[in-house]
């Protein structure tokens, strides 16, 4: 982190003002609420938020209550990136015609609205090169509609559409790699972050907003109802995901990958899994092969990241 421009060095540097108001109806212990709150604290000036359908959208904007202290647009499930592109360009043209400043635009969507439904609009926006920040808060399934599997659900996780039983041991496919899909568009900045590392996350949001081009942040946010754990464990789980190498924290800036949270002695993956009901079946002896395959994925991903960092090549 030494080379990185750091806007927030300690917790005391975090501004007191909140642009995300209390009284929203996200669950007690919601990880996404923390992700949104910290992202808005890291904005640098006038900002517009474009929010795709998802948990955050439905529970922060129940008419006539809105929890947003910024201008906020609700869009359909798939087009957060497309609407954000329009707002960016409108801001630019209006500033040129009438004078005045442009503003920052953040597109916010969950993993369903990014990995699956919104991928096409996201790809288009990244390819056209609008100056926007896309934040995907990843709770690893469609939590808002009742825990259906998504492209972000990890191997072995039980959801209502990939239930764990005698025949099917949870989801059988792998999780998509969103950051690398985004990087394939040759964008200046993409990063992963976790709500358990708030300073790292906020510095990334701020840095992404200052880049001249499309940027993407993939933030890990545990879901108490969907993963089935007590709401007080949200931060602990997010931290365990990092410490077991399950969710590596890295950034790719101008083609160079840097691992921000180096995990030299990882904790056993079981520590992360055993706290969650959705993974309980993996700890049974008959499902050992799924657990092994998940562990292999985690280790392969980590060693690949290390190699990419060392080689200094674009992933």
């Amino acid at each position: 982190m030494s080379l990185q421009a750091r806007y927030y060095k300690t917790v005391k540097d975090i501004p007191r003002e909140d642009l995300f108001a209390p009284g929203h109806r996200l669950c007690a212990g919601c990880g996404a609420a923390i992700a949104v709150k910290l992202a808005l604290k890291a904005t640098r000036g006038p900002t517009v938020v474009v929010n795709a359908t998802g948990c955050v959208e439905v529970s922060t904007s129940m008419f006539p209550y809105s929890a947003w202290g910024t201008p906020w647009v609700h869009v359909a499930f798939e087009n957060a990136a497309a609407v954000a592109s329009g707002i960016v360009e409108a801001s630019r043209i209006l500033a040129r015609k009438r004078g005045g400043e442009t503003y920052d635009v953040i597109a916010l969507a969950g993993d369903g609205g990014t990995f699956d439904i919104g991928l096409q609009a996201l790809s288009g926006a990244l390819e056209r090169g609008h100056k926007l920040l896309y934040i995907c808060y990843d709770n690893e399934a469609y939590m808002n509609t009742g825990i259906q599997r998504s492209g972000a659900t990890p191997t072995g996780a039980a959801t209502t559409t990939s239930p764990a039983g005698r025949v099917i041991p949870g989801k059988r496919e792998r999780k998509k790699n969103l950051v690398e899909i985004a990087l394939a568009h040759n964008i200046p900045y993409a990063a992963t972050a976790s709500i358990s590392h708030p300073l790292d996350y906020m510095n990334k949001v701020r840095k992404a907003l200052e880049k001249d081009g499309p940027t993407l942040i993939h933030v890990f946010s545990p879901c108490t109802l969907g993963w089935r754990y007590p709401p007080s464990k949200t931060i602990q789980l997010a931290r365990l995901a990092v410490e077991t190498r399950y969710f590596p924290i890295y950034e790719v800036e101008d083609g160079r990958l840097r691992i921000n949270v180096r995990v030299s002695r990882p904790k056993p993956l079981e520590e992360f899994l055993k706290l969650q009901r959705r993974f309980q079946h993996l700890l049974k002896p008959e499902n050992k092969h799924i657990l092994e395959s998940l562990k292999r994925q985690v280790e392969e991903n980590w060693s690949r990241l290390l190699k990419l960092e060392e080689a200094g090549v674009r992933p």
Partner: protein, 98 residues
């Protein structure tokens, strides 16, 4: 507009076009504190002013005061217990709501 709509005394002509909510935020008039079954209680003697509870509270219910000590806003606290879990000195205790 808000009061009329909350009381349920409105017709279609009272609704703003395109469901615009202005001014915003209006959610603080909805008190989520009633969801709570356990409430956090701070022991000021044990607090070291690290502010971790303030950073991690998902409901903006922990207020950071001028001297960096903290105060809980029970109007919105949903009682998730994250503050008690992240507190390094165990200064926040969860007690059953009566």
């Amino acid at each position: 507009m808000l009061e009329k709509i909350i009381r349920g005394e409105f017709g279609y002509e009272d609704l703003p076009p395109a469901a615009i909510i202005s001014p915003s935020p209006t959610s603080p008039s909805y008190k989520t504190g009633v969801w709570r079954t356990e409430k956090p209680v701070i022991d000021p003697a044990k607090c070291v002013k690290c502010l971790l509870c303030w950073v991690f509270c998902p409901d903006m219910s922990i207020k950071r005061l001028e001297d960096d000590s903290v105060k809980i806003d029970y109007d919105y606290c949903k009682g998730c217990g994250i503050c008690s879990e992240v507190c390094p000195t165990k200064a926040i205790r969860m007690v059953e709501e009566v």
